[in-house]
């Protein structure tokens, strides 16, 4: 099948220019890396800060783990301090934030059968996954088209820009009118919220593929279909994968909004319901923690998937 003429013209225009400019960027960074040894002799403090602020230094996994604990420990200390002592003498009221002890003590409360936490996790996960799959199914082809063909990009850019600036909460009543109160609304809402995130990310992933690869493709006689399917898409794939990983997380950030209407279960529902009926604040924080933990675990799975799929990236 022959493609219309304007596609050909357009790709030709894009081919030639930006290739040689890149190496220039790397030099100044290397210079900075050499700087600390010179200062070392002069001043002790500089030695210390220098070791902290060493640029692109290799950090062993153990050190990385230790370092990652610092902010967490700090947060727990601050949390303990502001919720310390009898209720009447705390910096932050127990109604707004429970103490770490109250937080732990409340764990059995959300594990009661009435709270249906387990079912809530499954229901919310199903909704997030549903929304994510729909968003991906729509955003991926459109993103690849927009990233590959400038005219498509020009046509859909306004919608994409509007979409990424739209205040997502305003979609709650709108999706209610479009999809009703049942599952369709929740999945639909999450699909839109995820879609507006994924689309620009996909477009960027494709657009960021270096022209060098395209030029090589053309030299080897690739047609447009080959360029898209064998060059642009595969090269952008790790970046697309990363966008998917972040996009899945978007679902978690909006799950509370999604389950605001017509929900009878789900993590967002449990949290919102506890909040609006003025229940123990520990429940609110516990559900938040559960959401974050699950999101974190799933993110780790995505990371494992990345390593398995893109070993060549890891090796570099």
């Amino acid at each position: 099948m022959k493609l219309p003429a304007f596609f050909k013209k357009e790709t030709k225009v894009k081919k030639i220019k930006p290739v040689r400019e890149k190496p220039a960027r790397e030099k100044p960074e290397k210079k900075q890396e050499e700087a600390p040894p010179r200062q070392r002799k002069a001043f002790q403090l500089a030695k210390f800060t220098g070791s902290i602020f060493a640029i692109r230094e290799d950090v062993s996994p153990f050190t990385a783990f230790l370092l990652s604990m610092i902010p967490i420990v700090l947060l727990v200390i601050i949390w303990t301090l502001v919720t310390w002592g009898p209720v009447e003498q705390r910096v932050i009221s127990s109604i707004i934030m429970p103490s770490p002890k109250e937080f732990v003590q409340a764990i059995p409360k959300i594990l009661t059968p009435e709270k249906r936490l387990g079912a809530g996790i499954l229901v919310s996960l199903a909704r997030i996954t549903g929304g994510f799959l729909i968003a991906t199914a729509l955003a991926l082809p459109l993103g690849v088209l927009m990233g590959s063909f400038s005219k498509f990009r020009a046509a859909f850019a306004p919608i994409m820009i509007v979409g990424s600036y739209i205040p997502i909460p305003t979609l709650v009543p709108l999706t209610l009118v479009w999809f009703g109160m049942e599952e369709k609304q929740k999945v639909g809402f999450l699909a839109i919220a995820t879609f507006v995130f994924l689309l620009p990310a996909f477009v960027k992933a494709i657009s960021d593929v270096d022209d060098v690869f395209l030029n090589t493709g053309y030299t080897l006689g690739a047609n447009k279909w080959h360029i898209v399917s064998k060059i642009l898409f595969p090269i952008a794939l790790p970046e697309i994968y990363n966008s998917l990983r972040l996009g899945f997380g978007v679902g978690f950030t909006w799950i509370i909004m999604a389950e605001m209407i017509g929900a009878e279960s789900g993590l967002g529902f449990i949290l919102k319901n506890a909040q609006s009926r003025g229940a123990d604040s520990s429940i609110v924080y516990l559900v938040l923690t559960v959401i974050v933990l699950i999101a974190f675990l799933i993110d780790k799975l995505w990371e494992l998937g990345y390593r398995a799929l893109f070993r060549y990236k890891e090796a570099r």
Binding site: P86, V87, E88, Q89, I92, S93, S94, I95, I96, E114, V172, P173, L176, V177, G180, M181, E182, M260, I261, G262, A263, E264, K272, N273, Q275, S276, R277, G278, A279, D280, S281
Partner: protein
């Protein structure tokens, strides 16, 4: 003569008979008359062992006031309210010099008297609060109840706005910190048409909601409204499918959006103007009930932090009195227009929109507040409203251990103001005047809801407090055939009080055990007498307007369960139906 002697009594016999008769009369007088005067309640009677000279004892104090509808609480509020921990440091933001009370409100016309008294929403020196009571007030908009509660708990605001049902939900957590325990001193308004239930045409009364879908904002007055009606109509909340939204606006949108679809929602609880717009714009929908008929169901109040109340009792009194003055000021039309403008400025609304909302709430003045806070007899007072809400929310599983009403209600300021006499000119004008009407007239429309109450009438009796009888049919003193009749009547009284503006039909029924043996007329008479005795009790004990009730005797024609017409105990009953006020 000899025969005469044998038949007559000996003089000794005559003395015995005479003594026996005197003894019987004496016992009769003692048990039948004097014992009654001694009171029926065992615990309140005189302690055993003491002899009482009845002639010297004044059992009841002379009552110069005559019959009164008001029975004021006798306890001292401070003794019941949870004390602020003496070690605690007050946890609210306060500047001694500027003295600005932070009073957040939501979008609700009921707060107009406060804005009127404050001469606008910002802290200013033209405010009544400043001029008369020496503090300023900053009125802000915090529409989200959770955010308002958090601001209150964090001490950023001193006042928490809310409906009484919201307070029931929030109180248990707020009371964990003795400083943030809410104290309620004043009722601002009754929702009067501002809340309502819209249904599809085929739903004629609350009874028809069984098995249907209702949508409303969860944990809001809407939830209390619908579930209170369901329970009153004898429907378990679980027999209805509940759909929740975050706001009343979304509930209305969901109801409208579902029109004509397979998963059509049958009813929505929302606010004005949506409840009035939907029936106009969506075919096949109508209003089932609004707070114009259930006009003493949703009470708006404000609560203050316990630590602030403890530190600044004068300011609390100033707020209460200032708001009453605001109500006075709103009587002036040009001032009312000005106040609407101030409110519009705060909400970012057009002043016309505010004016349209004026009918949604009825501001409760001093006299009405006194009725609400201090009259223990009032069937729609704070205590009863609070208890009804607790009951409904417990049925729904929203609260485990409700806070007692006297742990949050403080009528001391109201009592103080009464003593001062400052607002004696404010009269209770919120009483519906009922024109005499008949059952057949009222019955033309379907009732909003029907409550079947089962007072277990003794066969052939219409006496609610009929005593139990022994095998020979003799009444047993100090017993009641139906020990629950008092609490059953209390239930009816609360419902009748919530629907203060509505007409109530009381229909008596008899069982059909003697069908064919006694004339229909006598049966009708008995059922009518049963309805009348319920009416009489309600009017006497709770001081309702007699014209509020219409009575009817249905005889044995309408068994409770047509499938089980022989269930006689179930059939000896009274049904209470709430009808739309005639004016509508």
């Amino acid at each position: 003569m000899a025969q005469d002697k044998q038949e007559g009594l000996t003089p000794f016999g005559k003395v015995i008979v005479f003594l026996f008769i005197v003894g019987l009369i004496g016992a009769g007088v003692y048990f039948g008359f004097l014992k009654k005067g001694g009171g029926t309640g065992g615990s309140t009677g005189p302690s055993p062992g003491k002899t009482i000279d009845m002639t010297k004892l004044n059992i009841e104090a002379p009552d110069l006031k005559g019959i009164t509808t008001v029975q004021e609480y006798k306890y001292v509020p401070q003794e019941k309210l949870p004390a602020v921990d003496p070690k605690a440091i007050s946890g609210y933001k306060w500047d001694k010099n500027s003295k600005i009370v932070e009073f957040p409100i939501n979008i609700w016309i009921g707060w107009l008297p406060i804005i009127a008294a404050n001469h606008g929403h910002k802290a200013n020196k033209e405010s009544i609060f400043y001029k008369k009571y020496g503090f300023q007030m900053n009125i802000t908009l915090i529409d989200d109840p959770v955010a308002a509660r958090n601001a209150f708990a964090a001490g950023k605001s001193h006042i928490l706005w809310g409906t009484l049902d919201m307070m029931v939900l929030f109180a248990p957590e707020l009371m964990k910190d003795s400083r943030t325990a809410p104290r309620i001193y004043q009722q601002i308004d009754w929702s009067n048409g501002g809340d309502g239930i819209v249904v599809r045409d085929r739903i004629k009364s609350v009874q028809d909601l069984r098995g249907k879908t209702v949508v409303y904002a969860q944990n809001s007055p809407s939830q209390y409204y619908i579930n209170s009606l369901l329970i009153s109509a004898g429907i378990q909340p679980s027999e209805v499918k509940h759909k929740y939204t975050n706001t009343a606006f979304e509930a209305a949108a969901a109801f409208v959006a579902s029109t004509g679809k397979s998963d059509q929602i049958d009813a929505v609880v929302s606010w004005a103007p949506d409840i009035y717009n939907i029936p106009e714009k969506v075919k096949g929908t109508k209003i089932l009930s609004t707070t114009a008929d259930a006009n003493k169901l949703i009470a708006d109040v404000w609560a203050v932090r316990a630590d602030f109340a403890k530190d600044h009792p004068d300011i609390i009194k100033g707020i209460v009195a200032g708001i009453f003055e605001g109500m006075d000021k709103l009587q002036n039309e040009s001032y009312r227009v000005q106040a609407c403008q101030w409110m519009a400025d705060l909400y970012g609304f057009d002043v016309g929109e505010i004016k349209k909302m004026l009918q949604d709430a009825h501001s409760t003045n001093f006299a009405e507040n006194k009725e609400f806070f201090m009259n223990a007899n009032n069937p729609a007072n704070f205590e009863r409203t609070w208890k009804t809400i607790c009951f409904v929310y417990r049925e729904l599983g929203l609260i485990d251990a409700p806070v007692q009403f006297d742990q949050v209600m403080d009528f001391s300021v109201m009592a103080d103001i009464e003593k001062d006499g400052t607002f004696a000119h404010q009269k209770d004008s919120y009483k519906t005047v009922f024109a005499p009407t008949s059952f057949s007239k009222v019955q033309a429309e379907a009732p909003i809801l029907t409550q079947t109450i089962r007072i277990n009438f003794y066969p052939n009796s219409s006496n609610i407090f009929e005593p139990q009888h022994d095998e020979l049919g003799n009444a047993l003193a100090n017993t009641t055939y139906d020990p629950n009749s008092k609490s059953t009547l209390e239930k009816v009284a609360r419902l009748a009080a919530q629907f203060e503006a509505a007409t109530i039909a009381i229909v008596g029924h008899t069982d059909g055990s003697r069908k064919g043996q006694v004339p229909d007329e006598a049966v009708k008479k008995l059922s009518m007498a049963r309805a009348n005795s319920v009416k009489k009790e309600l009017v006497e004990k709770y001081k309702f307007d007699p014209n509020k009730f219409v009575v009817e005797g249905a005889g044995w024609d309408k068994p409770f369960d047509p499938g089980d017409p022989e269930n006689h105990a179930k059939n000896r009953r009274v049904e209470i139906s709430v009808y739309q006020p005639e004016a509508k």
